[in-house]
Amino acid sequence: MTDTAAASSPALSSGTAGSAAWRTSAAQAALILVLLGLWEIAGRTLFNPFWSSRPSLIAERIWRLALSGELWTHCSITLQEAGAGLLLGAVVGVPLGIALARAPRVAKVVEPVVMGLYGLPRVALAPLFILWFGIGLMSKIMMAFTMVVFIFMLNVMEGIRTIDPDHLDLMRSMRAGRFYLARKVLLPAVTPWILASFRIGVGLSLIGAVVGELIGANRGLGWYVEKSGGQLDTTGVFTGLVVLMILAMLANQLIGFVERRAIRWR
């Protein structure tokens, strides 16, 4: 009887897979520790820490900023800007991508304009956005938004292109309405593509927010980096960069977690 479930039990492999994953994590942590150690030693012997600071100085600074509450303020400002820009990018980019994929003739017409805007080095828009939206949150949200909106749009268009034509014919043969089709076929099919866009978008939206803060702001991690640089405080500059890096890594973990839950059917 060949007609049985093909689902294989993961129990056999989970032990080895688990310990392999654990070993990878250990190796990753070891690599980071070695690099930090080398940096620390170089900062104490080879270079003047004025130029490149030292992990111990950075850790101390993070601790001080955490105690004074400044760390939280700057992180939360930058996260709000990047997060709002990212969400806005998804809210605008996903429907736009679906609409353009469903209307290939319109897509042909707007394609050169979209690709032109996409190719534009959008960080150069920062001075303009500060002028238009002021030095508050809005200009940074718009920066983050312009960095990510095309990612969502182009990914979703590609996702719709990969839909099995039989699924569309199936829905048509049962006279499914537009919203039923979107709910049962289009959205689930593009969900992996939307999540991939979030993954790429996390870093880009942080870049957008930070660039905005470098140019004109009075709070946020980008502003802290800019201010520290102005005072020749390399430890402050590195502190801002390290915190940004940690935030990006945490956000990536979060998206990985959501991905594993949302597309279990794979």
Binding site: M1, T4, A6, D166, L170, R172, S173, M174, W265
Partner: protein, 270 residues
């Protein structure tokens, strides 16, 4: 008033319009750098109400294509398809299509996939609650209600796909090699179930298969397609008594005779 008109001018004897009338149908697919590929070049076929018609023919002869055209998924280059007397342009509500590939939605479980058919047929929520588990039992999918398609074998996927079609409950079923991925035993079991359902409700069925014995065992009529562009080379009436015993009938001389002559229509060595 309508009555008096009827009385004054006797209507012509009502000729029952067939469920499906395919008339001189031409289907061609455009090709880059070549004239269009003519898959059907003027084919005609009628299917009466309650009739179970099997279509056999070499692969690539246009069997899937004619089903798609009857369902309104393909625009004819010429000729016409009518279902219940109405020319088909969009898929008619009474037609259900079971695809050669199972076309299950990979992000939905077995139950959810079957529910798609129920929802699109307009079945009430309350009826779904009893009907869907009944279908799952009928198709021997119990225990896999919450499994995703990738966790199923080919045969189970085809049964889930049949479940969705039955949940949609069309009065004209177009089935494209529905049992192609099943092993011999399961094929017999499913064939028996299909006949039971069909005999109870007498829907019209057009059933494409590459299995000649399956065609003869199930159908009232077997239509034999030639290689592309398809012509109908033979159209047999299967006069085997119903209800049929799918195992015992294979030794019946009439059954053997019919399958033999279809083999020779397809120009295959016996």
């Amino acid at each position: 008033m309508a009555m008096s008109q009827l009385a004054e001018k006797p209507m012509p004897a009502p000729t029952p319009e067939p469920r499906v009338r395919v008339e001189n149908l031409r289907i061609a697919f455009p090709r880059p750098d070549a004239p269009p590929l003519e898959v059907l070049s003027g084919i005609s076929l009628d299917v009466a109400d309650g009739e179970f018609v099997a279509v056999v023919g070499p692969s690539g002869s246009g069997k899937s294509t004619i089903l798609r055209a009857i369902c309104g998924l393909l625009k004819p280059a010429g000729g016409e398809v009518r279902v219940d007397g109405r020319p088909v342009s969009d898929p008619p509500p009474e037609v259900g299509f079971m695809f050669q590939k199972d076309a299950l939605l990979p992000w939905l479980t077995v139950t959810q996939n079957i529910r798609v058919g129920a929802e699109l047929s307009g079945m009430s929520k309350a009826e779904q609650e009893t009907r869907i588990p009944a279908l799952i039992r009928l198709l021997r999918l119990d225990g896999f209600e919450d499994a995703y398609p990738k966790q199923l074998s080919g045969g189970m996927r085809q049964r889930a796909s049949l479940g969705r079609l039955l949940a949609y409950n069309p009065s004209l079923m177009l089935m494209d090699e529905p049992f192609g991925a099943l092993d011999y035993q399961t094929k017999i079991v499913m064939g028996r179930e299909l006949l039971r359902i069909w005999e109870a409700e007498r829907r019209a069925i057009i059933f494409v298969t590459h299995d000649i014995e399956e065609a003869v065992a199930l159908a009232d009529r077997v239509v034999v397609f030639s290689a592309r562009p398809a012509r109908i080379v033979a159209d047999y009436r299967v006069d085997l008594p119903r209800p049929r015993d799918l195992r015992a009938m294979r030794g019946d001389p009439a059954f053997v005779h019919l399958t033999e002559s279809i083999w020779s229509d397809l120009a295959l060595p016996a």
